[in-house]
Subunit: 412 residues, 2 copies
């Protein structure tokens, strides 16, 4: 039995946060304002569904306006019956004829979809009084598959194959549930924001290591390649040979530049190089990955399952950074995770939500989908704004126990 | 010498048009409302720049809001100095840090960019008192290249190569200018909208042929493949063996469906099959084109130069349907045309603007870029709303003579 909970009204809330002292800066965004386009679902109970999409700055308003339009599709529905066949509602929202021409399935309207979808999953978990990871892990493969929209995946991952994949992964599930006790490993993205001075980076690395982090990331993509090389070498030197280090160019290089600088950066033995060039250019990534022996991490700006399908098939993606607050929410995130598993590409999410939702999703990915428990990005800058902030101990995410997906903010 | 014209203010106008009796219907949009997100530039003279982006229905408002944000980049600028180096301003707008996270370069924000860019080109041509096609044809290759943003094209079409291509095409230019006299050939898209009855389609074909059209298009993509086959055969039968006929699925098929039905449709000798499946799925189109011997026309929903680059490189695109009111305006349209020319793929634009702007652009493409003068889509449903509507005689577009790009609407 479950509570009967009717979605009375959905509305968007435009929340923005100034960051201090260069935090959050990258090669493209030098003075970022982190923004959530929040979808808030009120119900006939005291429960609220909260779903986030992540953007930067003034454009957040556009996503909020699209949320206010999209929520009409779910107002009046009972949450458990909605989620019993959510894939169909997902497709109806994704293909809304008034918005489809604005994509399809990308940009403002797809970010709005992310927020609405996430609010539904949040409310669903709250209605069952369980954390999202537990809700997902406890679903049967069929029930999970019913929350996904397989359209245009008929040639690569039809529904029956997804269910078979999940059934096959039930072997070993109990063993993988240990992760719930030991905590999911995190890596520190905040040691090396683009605007930080070399001294500050050096200091941050030491602090991160004191806090138990053995994996960390530096922002690169400077106009002056020498700056990138110098700072990358600094990270390797201070973090030591055993540390896992990554470099993130935030799409700043064109292909010839990317090839040239990746040849130099690979000497520092990076675990991955992230977003080297334009996120729509699959073939440029194929060329880079086949020219320079580095592993590429991609997906932060890959808009939907179709482009992920092309990246996954192309062979250039070594780490899949799908982000549930950037693609069409938890539903599309899981579908992409399943396809990624079929191709044995680990999912290491970008965390536009600062890790709040993704701590649930990586647990699900590991326990039920059989992805390795590799790493989850840690960015602490917004933790004071969340009701249930991420808890990290000795660099490991502590498994959240509160009902829902932990994305409730303290104020709206 | 040219007039000095300062852009005082830019503002968006949300214009929508109901269509009657099934006109405009396709497999995805059964009751379409055609909408223009218009960017209107007021100046210190009586000239206005008018730029269009095309969408369907309620989402148009989002594009208008994004236009109102974007125009700040050009307010206060003098049009001729702006256009002398427009590629830089284009890049600045495309990469606006407040909007870039909403793409990049796709969806609502990119459609807004289209409207702003088109308004600039319109005003530029009006300032010189020439039609857009003449402005473009008379520009030197270097001056033309300065209006384009070559970023991320360094590996495939650097600026120097684009200039060299244009210089090479100066041979034969005079001969190709004959098109200005004889008019550019049109094809009729309005014979076979999705909701039209078989009888109405039959009747429309006869009317089109009476009006001199020898090329026409049918909307397919029905849930019942039998309907598609029946109607496609009807078109071939009535139009005759010599007619050029095309079938447009508006993304409705998944890959297995597309392969199955294209095998049947090819027996009717179509000139092309358009948008068979999801427009982001390059690899599905590659698979289809290599499995079934049909030519694919693609691009109506390809969002930007990067995805066009991938389609063009992939070899699956036989006809390039780039649309200047869907990608980043005239500037990105021309860049994509140049790349398409390098790969010998003809440009046959989708006309979200009903052909108003594209009649200028195909003349430029033929005369200066050396593309064949193949076909330009003709859709008459909004002609009553334009100040200088398209003039078609015996299926040929009559070369527009009014200054600008002919996209002024009668009211705003």
């Amino acid at each position: 039995m479950y509570k009967t909970i009717i979605i009375k009204k959905g509305q968007a809330v435009d929340t923005r946060f100034n960051l201090k002292d260069g935090a959050g800066s990258d090669a493209v965004h030098t003075t970022p304002i982190y923004a959530y386009a929040v979808c808030k679902l009120s119900t006939d109970t005291n429960l609220e569904g909260i779903g986030l999409a992540f953007t930067l700055g003034a454009g957040n308003k556009l996503v909020c306006d699209a949320i206010d339009y999209l929520v009409r599709h779910i107002e009046g529905m009972e949450i458990n019956s909605l989620m019993a066949n959510f894939g169909e509602t997902y497709k109806m929202m994704a293909d809304d004829p008034n918005l489809r021409w604005l994509g399809p399935h990308k940009g403002v309207v797809h970010l709005a979809l992310a927020a609405v979808v996430n609010a539904c999953f949040d409310l669903w978990a709250k209605s069952k009084e369980v954390p999202l990871w537990k809700l997902l892990i406890d679903l049967s493969p069929e029930a999970l598959a019913n929350t996904l929209d397989f359209s245009y995946y008929e040639d690569i991952l039809p529904k029956e194959e997804a269910i078979a994949l999940l059934i096959a992964q039930q072997q070993g599930k109990q063993n993988r549930e240990k992760i719930l006790e030991i905590g999911y490993p995190g890596y520190d993205t905040s040691i090396g924001w683009f605007n930080y001075s070399d001294d500050k980076v050096a200091d941050n690395i030491k602090k991160a290591m004191d806090n138990g982090f053995t994996a960390m990331k530096l922002k690169v993509g400077a106009k002056d390649a020498g700056r990138d090389i110098r700072r990358a070498a600094l990270v390797r030197k201070i973090a030591g040979d055993k540390a896992t280090i990554m470099f993130d160019a935030n799409q700043q290089w064109n292909l010839p530049q990317a090839i040239a600088i990746c040849k130099e950066l690979r000497e520092l033995d990076p675990f991955w190089i992230e977003e080297p060039t334009h996120p729509d250019d699959v073939q440029a990534h194929v060329k880079l990955a086949s020219t320079v022996d580095v592993k590429l991490a991609l997906g932060e700006h890959v808009p939907n399952k179709m482009v992920f399908k092309n990246f996954i098939q192309s062979g250039c993606m070594s780490f899949n950074q799908v982000d549930a607050v950037r693609v069409g929410g938890v539903s599309e995130f899981i579908l992409i995770s399943l396809l990624s598993k079929k191709y044995n590409i680990p999912v290491v999410p970008h965390v536009g939500d600062m890790g709040q939702i993704h701590q649930h999703l990586v647990l699900y990915n590991h326990v039920s989908v059989g992805h390795p428990a590799l790493l989850l990005e840690h960015i602490p800058h917004l933790r004071e704004h969340f009701k249930f902030p991420v808890r990290i101990e000795n660099s490991r995410y502590q498994t959240p126990q509160e009902p829902g997906m932990s994305s409730d903010l303290l104020y709206y």
